[in-house]
Symmetry: C2
Subunit: 159 residues, 2 copies
């Protein structure tokens, strides 16, 4: 009834729908500019930038977990960074989210990755879910970002 599997190129439309649904949940419905061509190139092209696992319920795709390799210079090993995890509202309450996290932990162990990392919005109830599964809040670390025109301006800075 529940089945977790690798995503394939023909799943890209379903993945993009789930990405859009997650962006809506995160109150940024217009933030998704990614196209099917982008995901196809970056998930299955010569420069693979992410991996994706899908959750099926009775044969229908109802959730996704998209991740990539990060790196720990202290461990001298790659880690698994979970960028997106999402289960459709109609499929919740059946343990699919937990099944997907356990599946990712198994991938990490199998590939010799030393950690599973992710980021959560501070109002997202999923924080309790992650905490219950044993993930620790790294409260002393703060995220910084530069993007768009500010990034271009930084790159153009005279030496």
């Amino acid at each position: 009834m529940i089945h977790i599997r690798d995503a394939a190129p023909e799943d890209v439309p379903a993945i993009l729908s789930l990405i859009r649904a997650l962006a809506e949940f995160e109150k940024q419905p217009d933030a998704v500019v990614a196209t099917e061509a982008d995901l196809l190139r970056d998930g299955w092209g010569p420069q693979k930038r992410f991996s994706c696992r899908l959750a099926e319920l009775d044969g229908a795709v109802v959730g996704f977990a998209l991740w990539f390799y990060n790196y720990s210079t202290w461990e001298g090993r790659a880690g698994l960074y979970l960028e997106d995890l999402y289960v459709s509202p109609e499929a919740r309450g059946r343990g699919l989210g937990e099944r997907m996290i356990v599946d990712l932990a198994q991938i990490a162990v199998r590939e010799g990755l030393r950690r599973l990392d992710l980021s959560v919005l501070d109002w997202n109830p999923a924080r309790d879910f992650y905490h219950r599964l044993g993930l620790q809040h790294r409260s002393d670390w703060q995220l910084y970002r530069i993007t768009g025109e500010a990034l271009a301006a930084l790159a153009a800075k005279a030496e």
Copy 2:
């Protein structure tokens, strides 16, 4: 006098020394279990897991910036995640840190990456430095991690 360049396999001992120096600065001197063989495998092996740029002052390696590709499902593009940036104390005050960040921004622009991300400890004065260069604190995002025995236990969880 100042030169920024790609790291090469023969730089691995210098990189590991700088990684250890950064761990000491971050008050975790014993956290570095990485070996030269680890860095060689992950930086120059068949599965490349990171890239590294070095700062030279008068021909001596005095700083490093180690990064990898992350991924934005909203942008449908990879980004540049800066894992470590470090300049030796004796070489500070000459703008090497800024030169290295500008260099990374140029790599990002050249490769079509849409963002430059990093994490900083909440007591690290480097936060002011990053803010001055235009990076924004993403204060609504919280980092979570599972590692070691907890990760193994999660992977072994019965379905």
